[in-house]
Structure formats: structure tokens, C-alpha cells
């Protein structure tokens, strides 16, 4: 039983991190219908930046966060302005492949600037833990959950209370109607890409102190947002959060009860089950096809 609860807490921590990253992913998808394959690499970039700044150069946390946010935002903006803006109306898979090309470029850039060796985990989170009735709960997990909750609250505020958030929701709901009302979709698209990149980068920043190594594998871990987003329903914000948490929990349970090699497969297994029962995801809407 204690193992169950410990895995659950660890899963919630990892899952909340995934939830934030998945949220960014769904933001881009809802606004631009693009499956961003480069999301995992932006996640990895955040981790590498953090590792290189905090672990190797002892730059204070606040500055690191700022730098990660700025660089991620810049990358998101460049992706939109340079590439995505010119590909409006292309076949879906073509755009997806363009993001794969971007992923290759980003990965290569990270390799060039940071070198290909692995780095150890960054020491940002507290190492202490407390015992609650025989269950060991790491404080690091609690900090992660706390950070993610704060970010989700911030995102909710952004989307519900600000004009920009309002515009983004409008474009996501009905692009044509939003244009008619006078909302400039390009601004919204750029904001979506920037937000997604920043969320992925921050996710990487947090993950660099959670996972055991910072290496090029992180791009694959960043790919876990795909099943997370799908479980929740690809075009649903609460779905992204729920999906992220489910994936994190599933991953930890699989790792704990079945062994480390099942961690890659677990999110997809859960996704299969969910999609078999509800092909549109938990919160997704059934799409009617127009003939």
C-alpha cells in the first residue's frame, strides 16, 4: 500500500509537469491545428539551458527562469513568423513534417551548443522528505505539484480574464467568426506558439531537477505529451491537464510495478484503452464530418 501511495505522489508530480507541457501543446493545436513535433525538443532545450546555467555556472534561479522564458519565447516567435505563417493551408501532414524538420534543426543546434554528453541532474529542488504514516513523501514532488498548480492558475487567469486570452479562445473556437469580429489571427497564432514554447521550456527547466539525467533522450520524454493530449481530447484544455496527470501516474506505476522498460509504453497503453472506449478522448468532442 505504501508503495502505491508513493508511486501515486511521484506520478502526480511528474504528471503535473506533463500537464503543463501538454497544455502548451494543445494551445498550438487548438489555435493552428498543427501537431507540433518539435515540442519535445523545446522541452529538452529548457532542460539543457537550466543545466548549463545553474549547474555549471551557478547563475541564480530567477535569472535562469527569465533566460529560459525569453529564449523559448524567441524560438516560438521565430517558428511562427519564419515558417508556420507561410504554410497556412497546406496539407496537414506537410505541416507536421515541417515541425519534424524544425525538431531536427533544434536538436542539432542543442548538440552543437551544449555538446552531446549527458549531464547530471540539476540540484534545484529540496532533497528532504517527510513521513506520513509510513509513506515517504519527497518534498521535491510537492514543490513540483505546487509549481504546476500555480502555472495552471496563471494560465486560467490568462485565458479567462485577459483580452489576449479571450482572443485566443475565440480563434480556437471559430476562426472565421473571430476574423469577422476583427481579431487578427496572426497575433493569436504567434501568441500560441510563444506560449507553447515557453511552457515547454519551463517544463524542461523543472524536469532537469527531477529526472536523473539531462541528455538527448529528453526529446523522447517530451514526446509523452502526445498521448497525454490525446487521452484528454486533443482540442481540450482541461483534457490536456487531466491527460498529463494520467500519463505521469501511469508512467510511475508502470515503472514501479513492471520495470523501467515499460515506462515508454505505459502512456500509450493507457491511451489505447481510452481511445478504444472513447475515440475522441475524455473531454474531446465527437467531430462530425462534412461531406
Amino acid at each position: 500500500m505504501t508503495q502505491f501511495i508513493q508511486l501515486l505522489v511521484a506520478g502526480l508530480a511528474l504528471g503535473s509537469l506533463y500537464a503543463v507541457v501538454a497544455f502548451g501543446f494543445v494551445t498550438v493545436f487548438k489555435a493552428t491545428s498543427v501537431l507540433n513535433f518539435a515540442h519535445g525538443t523545446m522541452f529538452m532545450l529548457g532542460a539543457y539551458l537550466t543545466a548549463s546555467m545553474i549547474a555549471e555556472r551557478d547563475i541564480p534561479l530567477v535569472v535562469t527562469v527569465l533566460v529560459v522564458v525569453l529564449i523559448s519565447a524567441a524560438i516560438g516567435a521565430v517558428i511562427h513568423l519564419g515558417i508556420m505563417r507561410g504554410m497556412v493551408g497546406q496539407a496537414l501532414f506537410t505541416v507536421v513534417l515541417a515541425t519534424i524538420g524544425i525538431e531536427i534543426v533544434l536538436k542539432a543546434l542543442i548538440q552543437i551548443f551544449f555538446g552531446a554528453e549527458e549531464r547530471g541532474r540539476v540540484d534545484m529542488l529540496p532533497r528532504s522528505s517527510s513521513q506520513v504514516g509510513g509513506v515517504v513523501i519527497a518534498h521535491a514532488d510537492l514543490v513540483l505539484i505546487g509549481c504546476s498548480v500555480l502555472m495552471v492558475i496563471g494560465l486560467v487567469v490568462l485565458f479567462q480574464r485577459t483580452t489576449l486570452g479571450f482572443k485566443m479562445r475565440a480563434v480556437a473556437d471559430n476562426l472565421e467568426a473571430a476574423k469577422v469580429v476583427g481579431i487578427n489571427p496572426q497575433v493569436v497564432f504567434m501568441a500560441s506558439w510563444i506560449l507553447a514554447a515557453v511552457l515547454a521550456g519551463i517544463g524542461g527547466l523543472l524536469f532537469s531537477s527531477y529526472g536523473s539525467v539531462v541528455s538527448l533522450d529528453l526529446a523522447g520524454i517530451g514526446l509523452r505529451v502526445f498521448p497525454a493530449a490525446l487521452i484528454g481530447g486533443l482540442a481540450s484544455f482541461p483534457g490536456a491537464i487531466v491527460g498529463g496527470v494520467i500519463v505521469g501516474v501511469a508512467e510511475q506505476f508502470a515503472g514501479g510495478y513492471l520495470g523501467g522498460e515499460w515506462r515508454d509504453v505505459a502512456p500509450y497503453a493507457v491511451m489505447f484503452v481510452v481511445l478504444l472506449v472513447r475515440p475522441q478522448g475524455i473531454f474531446g468532442k465527437k467531430e462530425a464530418q462534412r461531406v
Binding site: 501537431l35 513535433f37 515558417i83 507561410g86 504554410m87 497546406q90 496539407a91 496537414l92 501532414f93 506537410t94 505541416v95 507536421v96 513534417l97 515541417a98 519534424i100 524538420g101 524544425i102 525538431e103 531536427i104 534543426v105 536538436k107 542539432a108 543546434l109 548538440q111 552543437i112 552531446a116 523522447g220 514526446l223 502526445f226 498521448p227 490525446l230 486533443l234 522498460e261 515499460w262 515508454d264 509504453v265 502512456p267 500509450y268 497503453a269 491511451m271 489505447f272 481511445l275 478504444l276 475515440p279 475522441q280 478522448g281 467531430e287 464530418q289 461531406v291
Partner: protein, 391 residues
């Protein structure tokens, strides 16, 4: 009838279009249809085929000549790369069947390559079968597994299908790992040298295939034959059914094409070819481990298809050669002209990846129909008369 199946985004294909241009008031639908079914449309196509056949025959002789290539071009390495490209062309074509012709976005390709690897290991390494027997059997097994994967895929569309098949990929890699560890160990699965069966006449009987030249001819026969078969399928009503389902599967159902059957057929064909490709790759590289089946390899096939051009046989082949040969020449380029820069030589593989990715993004951004689209645009501009379909 021809216009219903027309799609603006695909390059011109064999199937579904009756000529495409008005040839004049005297052409009846029957005459147009008969012309469409002809194997070779006009002397231009015959010329193209002739050139292609000449190139195919010339290649091994070209590369075995003791030429010293100008500027240190990677001549010898190109021959090996051509063999790899041939294997990749088969994989790209099978991927194109699903993606370009039927628009089922499946990332499960790597899973079938792994399946091919397991079959080759079980029958070839452990069972001693000749590769000539393993290939057709792997196609059959691949088709069956493809149907099994394809049936649940019917419930999913587009991006959901993509991610679900991504899951299939990870499962398959795990399966391969379990198989590998159970029967072979951490060093990966070793494959014997490919050999032809003994009953073949003359020097072919029991011959082993291990030099570049031998592999080249073997691959030309196997890959060429399979692609020609696939091309023929695309020419027939099944090919047209593929395109119908791709464009509007509800409408296709109304006109009598069963989308479920067509999609499953496409899955079966594509998986059969991909499994064969897995067998070929296993024998060619003689060692495969679970780590060999990376997600990147699958993504590379997707790149081949899109860069080469959707729904186009020559597009898949062109794309495969492009993706295989370009990194080789990029590497030569950076080594040759930037050898004195330390930064560049230390990071050469990353820089190649960087240039390659940038190239892909550029091609997709500016010519989304891919290289086949560029080729078609060129042709359209140089031919004065109406374009004969050429596939």
C-alpha cells in the same frame, strides 16, 4: 467521373484521371479510358523508362571502375548509399501507400521493420532458411499483422491515428527487445550472410550476397519487382479506390467503395512491404538491436514521402534517394570546404543534421508537393502540349 477523384494537392497520378485535359471534341470516354489503361503513354514516357533502365544497368559498372573522383567526392560510399536508398525506397513506397494514397497517417512503420527483423532472425539465423524464402513469407505475415493493426485504426482519424500508431511503434520495439534478450543477448541479433537457394541455375545457386554489387542486383530485383507490383495496384481500381477514400471517404462509400475494406487493404499491402523491408535491412546490416528501430528512422520515411511527393511512385523513390544521399554529400561538403574550422569538424554530424533539417523545412515551406512537384512543374513548363499522365 474523372473530376470526382481529382485532388489539387497531389501530383498527377495514374489513377482516377481520364487524361486531365481536353484532347478535342473527338475523344470519347471509352477512348480516353483505354488510353489511360495503357502501360506506356506515348514516346516521352518510353524515353524516360529507357533512360531509367540504362541508368540502372550502368550504375554498378560506373562504380566498379577505378575512377578517382574529382574533388574527393565520396564515390565508393555512394554505391553503398545507393543500396541503402533502394531498401529505403521500398519502405518509403509502402509508407506512401498509406500516407499519400489513402491518407492514413501511420507511424507504425518501424513496428513492421522490427517484425521483419524478428522473422528474419527466427527463420534465417535460427532456422537456416534462405532469404528468398523468408521474403515472401514475411510479406504474408506482415499483411496479416497489418490487418490486425488496421482494424482498430478504422476507428481513429488523422492525428489520433498518428499517435496511436506511435504507441504501436513503442510496443513493437519493446517486443523486439524482449525477443532479442531471450534468444540473443545484449549485442543485438546477428544475421547470417544472405544466400540464394541451391536449386537456382548456374552460378546463382547457393550464391552468397555480400558485396555491394551483389546486393545491388538483388535489391534491384526484389525492390524493383515489389514497387512495380505496387505501382500496378495503384493503376487498377484499387488504386482509384485508395484515392477516393483519401479525398472523401463518405462520398466514396456512397459510390460503392467500401472505405473500411480499402483502408484495410492499404494497411495490409503497406505492412507486407514494410516487413519485407525489415528482412532486407536485417540481412543488409547483419546486426539489429532494439535500439536500431528508432523513431527517427520512421520520421525519415515520412520525410522521404513528403519531400518526394505524395501519391507518387517516383516520388517515393526520389525521396528515398534524396534522404539517403544528401547527408552523405553534405558531409563531404562540410569536410571539404570547412576542414580547417575546428568548430565545424567537431560537430560535423550535428551540422549535417542541422542542414538536413533546414533543407526539409525549406522544401516543405516553398514547394509542398515535394521534389516530384518540382519535377512536374519543370515538365509542365517545357512541354508545350497537354500533359500526359506519367507515373
Amino acid at each position: 467521373m474523372s473530376d470526382v477523384v481529382d485532388s489539387e494537392r497531389a501530383p498527377t497520378t495514374n489513377a482516377g484521371k481520364g487524361g486531365g485535359r481536353k484532347r478535342g471534341p473527338a475523344t470519347s470516354p471509352t477512348a480516353r479510358y483505354r488510353r489511360e489503361l495503357r502501360l506506356i503513354h506515348g514516346w516521352r514516357e518510353m524515353l524516360t523508362y529507357g533512360v531509367v533502365i540504362a541508368c540502372i544497368i550502368a550504375v554498378p559498372y560506373l562504380f566498379s571502375m577505378p575512377l578517382i573522383p574529382p574533388a574527393g567526392l565520396p564515390w565508393a560510399a555512394t554505391f553503398t548509399a545507393i543500396n541503402v536508398a533502394l531498401i529505403a525506397a521500398l519502405a518509403a513506397f509502402s509508407f506512401n501507400l498509406l500516407l499519400g494514397y489513402v491518407h492514413q497517417i501511420s507511424m507504425a512503420h518501424g513496428a513492421f521493420l522490427a517484425l521483419g527483423g524478428i522473422i528474419a532472425a527466427q527463420l534465417g539465423t535460427l532456422g537456416g532458411w534462405s532469404i528468398v524464402y523468408i521474403l515472401p513469407l514475411s510479406a504474408v505475415v506482415g499483411a496479416i499483422v497489418g490487418v490486425i493493426v488496421g482494424v482498430p485504426a478504422l476507428r481513429l482519424r488523422g492525428l489520433y491515428l498518428l499517435v496511436a500508431t506511435l504507441g504501436v511503434h513503442f510496443f513493437a520495439v519493446l517486443l523486439f527487445k524482449k525477443y532479442q534478450l531471450a534468444k540473443f543477448g545484449f549485442g543485438g541479433v546477428n544475421y547470417p550472410v544472405a544466400s540464394l537457394p541451391d536449386w537456382l541455375p548456374g552460378p546463382l545457386g547457393g550464391a552468397q550476397i555480400y558485396t555491394d554489387k551483389q546486393w545491388y542486383w538483388f535489391l534491384i530485383v526484389v525492390v524493383g519487382g515489389t514497387i512495380l507490383f505496387g505501382k500496378n495496384v495503384v493503376r487498377t481500381r484499387y488504386g482509384r479506390a485508395f484515392l477516393a477514400v483519401r479525398d472523401q471517404d463518405v462520398v466514396a462509400a456512397i459510390t460503392g467503395v467500401d472505405p473500411a475494406r480499402v483502408k484495410i487493404l492499404a494497411f495490409a499491402l503497406s505492412s507486407a512491404m514494410a516487413t519485407m523491408c525489415g528482412v532486407l535491412g536485417a540481412y543488409y546490416y547483419s546486426n539489429r538491436a532494439a535500439e536500431s528501430f528508432t523513431l527517427e528512422a520512421v520520421l525519415f520515411f515520412a520525410i522521404m514521402v513528403v519531400v518526394g511527393g505524395f501519391a507518387s511512385v517516383q516520388g517515393s523513390v526520389i525521396g528515398a534517394f534524396f534522404v539517403t544521399l544528401v547527408p552523405l554529400y553534405l558531409d563531404w561538403f562540410t569536410r571539404r570546404f570547412f576542414a580547417d574550422s575546428e568548430v565545424i569538424s567537431n560537430n560535423s554530424s550535428a551540422i549535417n543534421a542541422l542542414l538536413f533539417g533546414a533543407l526539409i523545412v525549406l522544401v516543405l515551406r516553398f514547394q509542398p508537393k515535394g521534389l516530384a512537384g518540382i519535377w512536374l512543374a519543370l515538365r509542365r513548363r517545357t512541354l508545350e502540349r497537354g500533359l500526359e499522365r506519367n507515373d
